[in-house]
Symmetry: C2
Subunit: 395 residues, 2 copies
DNA sequence: CCCAAACACGTGTACGTTACCGATTGAACT
DNA sequence: AGTTCAATCGGTAACGTACACGTGTTTGGG
């Protein structure tokens, strides 16, 4: 059963909790006392102390202040184990992620699992919901969970027009919503965890600028400029280019709309541009059609390429130097941070930073091996190996 | 009071715990039962069930197997809150870190704090020990803690000759030791968390190789080649250079022994090398004397520089492009991971990977802003602001 | 002045688990 | 047969907290 009321109560009285938090982390010299000790110290009953500490009615102002004072002086620290036992709260959390781009979202799920594993001593119910892809089935699935009284929801918002109202309804209903991999800033979500898209574009531009020394053209291939993430990447790219790389000229962005064929043909068209671009920034994870076109034209070694994210097919291209760098968006970390922020809010009432922007990892040939252990192989191994093994492998 | 016996017991019987872990993370459909339900189902007492589940003596083999079977079928999941309440275990953990290089180790401490904050529902005692610098006071401090019966110790090992025996004694005594920032592989530490030094060197070489196009010399300035970390960085640097950058020639490494004056003068001497090196990799965090020498000779813009770590004085140099990149060793993450691994071992008996090698962050001009929030200002603000604020600011 | 309402506070129970003390059994030995 | 003793198991207190409920005290209005 969910614990709405309790959670809200906690949220309403943050001062008590922040005090407690600091006490927990304080020096070990101070022995922490329980509710019983402070009752005995004041010669009153533990019931009164309990009411006073929780701001419940039925306690006179004098005793209230006395209790609070001696609680402070005795270094009162609530025994969370006892509290959890008594309340028998089980946090219910739903996770809505797409199936598509498995290399990304499987790692993200792993990150959530890893964080959940670390939350000892509280029993939680984690419901993973999977829909085919962003914009395809996500709305229906999320709608179903609205009435289910979840304590928290982790979600990757796709189209703001359809998803934002749902998030607002969830929040209004009392659920804490954390966005991951993409943000929905115009909603009541308590946090959005994602990679800093502007910085991603900036890094791509800086790397190209440092690699290409002569005057040249550079191009970008993106997914969909209507999504915030892709637009910001492009803005960051263009801005850094304009500021620090006057010798590079930017060709207008090409949208692939995440369709392989369109990406492939747009790339072929791009290569006919005169003069041919010397650098290329592919800001969507769907880079394979683009790379295939380049390969067929034997231009993989002529054009400096920056890609996005990391998956099996990219590895050899980075190893061989055909890709200058790829910007890894750290899905594992994103999932872990999202879960931690959610739990911390639900349990301690601490509001996380509204938007957490991670630094993408710059994957080069020389540090590539460090990232391979995070990479999922092709989807087929999903059934092989028992769950325990998979979890333990991802420490 | 420490919980040695309990912990060891758990470690001896990992099968039970891994089963439980998988149950916790399993689908929500399966309702989890308590010790009471399984006792009732078998018509025996909860005392017997408890003994059976924990492998304690006094249970006949038949009932033992019966209990284990029905525990499995009923999806038994121990209520950790109740367990913690009853046992009233308080984990005692000591953290031994140097004072020096505050920008690094303060962040590391913050990471430990952040992870500790996330461990809800268990009361732990965190004792931070601080000594002046590696090799100066660390041995004495660690020796004092050997008899104190800690459950776990996080330590940055300096000189293996003096520290390794202490770690061995700690481990033999029952404490779980996690090394951080530097490893002590020839001991019984359960894990070592650090940045992949070989990759760091490789990245530095690759960045220089991609930036410097013509035939040239490159140099390295390191701290102390006798420490594993610095030696590995240099090996990685030389290896990548040899493999991928035939146009760059490596000047023999210069050791600063972490002494500013020595570093300064060695740099001046280096700049008289003919031809003057076009690239420089400073693999120690003590890069300021080197940079000062370069500045005085007006060569900051002539030489491509890769530094190590990130602190206040480096920021403007990265911003202005005088430093090509700095390799950030992510102390916050190191501390967080070290603590998480330790807790997971103590509570669940899960042995972490013996050595975790993090990927360093490549900090360029374009992604520098993303890292500034982790950077501590100059030491003076340490006293300002109450602890609560500092903790909450570092979400 | 009295009764009741409002208020202040104490008491008791339950949460699930562990640790401990007895109770019961059965076998071995005197 | 009586005694001892180990093996096996049941029963229960206690961990610290939350909350419902009961008791005692003050207040206010008729």
């Amino acid at each position: 059963m969910p614990v709405k009321r309790q959670v809200q109560l906690v949220t309403e009285r943050p001062h008590e909790w922040s005090t407690i938090a600091s006490i927990i982390l304080s020096d070990s010299k101070a022995k922490s006392a329980g509710i019983k000790e402070i009752a005995r110290a004041l010669g009153i009953s533990i019931g009164t102390v309990d009411r006073a500490l929780h701001g419940r009615p039925g306690v006179s102002p004098k005793t209230l202040s006395k209790v609070l004072r001696t609680a402070e002086s005795l270094n009162y620290k609530p025994n969370l184990a006892a509290r959890n036992l008594k309340l028998n709260r089980t946090l219910r959390i739903a996770v809505h992620l797409p199936q598509e781009i498995a290399s990304f979202f499987d790692s993200l799920r792993d990150g959530i699992h890893a964080a959940a594993r670390n939350s000892h001593g509280l029993n939680l119910q984690l419901d993973f919901r999977t829909f085919p892809r962003l914009g395809d089935g996500d709305v229906e699935l999320l709608e179903k969970d609205i009435g289910r009284d979840y304590d928290g929801v982790i979600v990757t918002p796709g189209d703001p027009v359809t998803i934002d109202p749902l998030i607002r309804r969830l929040a209004q209903q009392g659920a804490a919503v954390v966005c991951v991999a993409n943000d929905a800033p115009r909603t009541d979500r308590i946090a959005g965890i994602s990679v800093d898209a502007t910085a991603s574009g900036g890094i791509a531009a800086e790397l190209l600028a440092r690699t290409i020394k002569e005057n040249a053209f550079v191009a970008t291939i993106t997914g969909n400029l209507s999504t915030l993430d892709h637009a910001e990447k492009l803005r960051g790219f263009a801005a850094t280019l304009a500021t620090f790389a006057p010798h590079l000229t930017l060709i207008p962005a090409i949208e692939s709309h995440e369709r392989p064929k369109e990406a492939y043909q747009a790339t072929l068209a791009l290569l006919h541009h005169s003069p041919r671009p010397a650098g290329l920034y592919i800001s969507t994870a769907n880079s394979l059609p683009v790379l295939r076109a380049l390969e067929e034209k034997k231009l993989l070694n002529q054009v400096q390429i920056i890609t996005t994210d990391l998956f099996a097919d990219l590895i050899s291209l980075v190893e061989s130097g055909k890709i200058l760098a790829t910007l890894y968006q750290r899905p594992f970390t994103q999932g872990k941070l999202a879960f931690e922020a959610l739990i911390r809010f639900l349990l301690d009432g601490v509001r996380p930073d509204a938007s957490v922007r991670l630094a993408p990892h710059i994957v080069l040939r020389s540090n590539l091996p460090l990232f391979l252990k995070h990479i999922h192989q092709n989807g087929t191994d999903r059934s092989a190996g028992n769950p325990t093994n998979r979890l333990h492998a991802k420490v």
